[in-house]
Amino acid sequence: MKSKLILIIIFTFLIFCFLIFYKGLDKPNIYTPKTNIEKNVPIFKAKDFYSNTYINSKNIFIEENYYIVNVWASWCAPCRKEHPLLMKLSKNKTIKLIGLNYRDNLKNAKKFINELGNPYTQILIDKDGTLAVEFGAYGVPETFLIDRNKKIIRKFVGPINKIIIEEIKTIIK
C-alpha cells in the first residue's frame, strides 16, 4: 500500500514536470511584448523637434481625438518603409500623429522629414531613449494607439503595414 502511494506521488510529479516542459516548448525564448495593452499615457516633458522648447505631455494629448505615437529614427530602414503609410494615415481627420524621434541626429532627422514628408502634428525629441522607455518601447519603429480616454490601447512592434492601417481605421471608426 505504502509503495503504491509513493509510486503514485512520483508518477504525478513526473507528469507535472512533463506538462510544464511541454508547455514551455511552445513559448519563444525571446521577448514578445503584449500588443493588447491598456495603460495610461505616461506623464513626461520633452523637447519639440522644431522649436527646441520643452512641452508637457498634458499639452500634447489635449483634444478628444485618437492619437498615434510613432517611434522613428532617420537611421532606421523600416521607418523609411512605413513612412508613406503614415503619410496616408495623417490625412485621416479623426487621428493625430505624434512622432518620437529616437536616439537620432537632429540634422539627419530633419533631412528625413524634408525628403519623405511630415505626417506628424508634433515631433518630440528623445535623444537618450528614455521617453521611449516611458511608453514601453524597446526599439524602432514602434507605434502606439491612444484612445479618446488617453489610454494606450494597442502597441505595434515593427513597421506599420496595410493590415495594421486597416486595424487602426476599424478601431477609430
Binding site: 528614455t130 516611458e134 524597446y138
Partner: protein, 122 residues
C-alpha cells in the same frame, strides 16, 4: 583660524556623507541593473549590455533612484512597461505561485517522509 578649522571639518564631513550616499546609490543601481533582462540581446542583463535599449534603461534606473524610488518601485515601474519578463527574479504573483511554492512543498513533503521513517525505525 578656529572658524576656518570648523568650516573645513564641516566641508569634509559633507563631502564624506555625499560620497557615501553616491556609493550606496551606485550599489543599488548595479544590483537592479543586474536583475533586469536586456530584451533585445539574448542572455544578457542590462548591466552587461551596451545596446541602445540597455543604455536607455540604465539612464531611467539612475533617474528613478535619484527620485528616491526603492528597488521594488523601480521593478514595478519596469514590469508595468514591459511585463514580468524584464526581471530575472520573478515576483510572487498568480502566475508564479507554483514556481515559488513548489520547492517549499517538496521540502515539507520530504521532511515529513524523513520524520515518519525515523519514527518508524525507532
Amino acid at each position: 583660524m578656529k572658524i576656518f578649522k570648523i568650516f573645513l571639518i564641516i566641508f569634509l564631513s559633507l563631502g564624506f556623507i555625499q560620497s557615501q550616499s553616491e556609493e550606496k546609490n551606485n550599489d543599488l543601481k548595479n544590483k537592479i541593473l543586474k536583475n533586469i533582462r536586456c530584451l533585445i540581446c539574448q542572455g544578457q542583463s542590462v548591466y552587461d549590455s551596451e545596446s541602445d535599449f540597455a543604455s536607455s534603461i540604465k539612464l531611467i534606473v539612475n533617474k528613478k533612484i535619484n527620485e528616491d524610488m526603492s528597488e521594488d518601485q523601480v521593478y514595478k515601474f519596469l514590469i508595468e512597461k514591459y511585463g514580468d519578463w524584464i526581471i530575472y527574479e520573478p515576483t510572487l504573483n498568480k502566475n508564479t505561485y507554483v514556481l515559488w511554492l513548489l520547492p517549499l512543498l517538496l521540502f515539507l513533503l520530504g521532511g515529513a517522509i524523513m520524520i515518519k521513517n525515523l519514527k518508524f525505525k525507532k
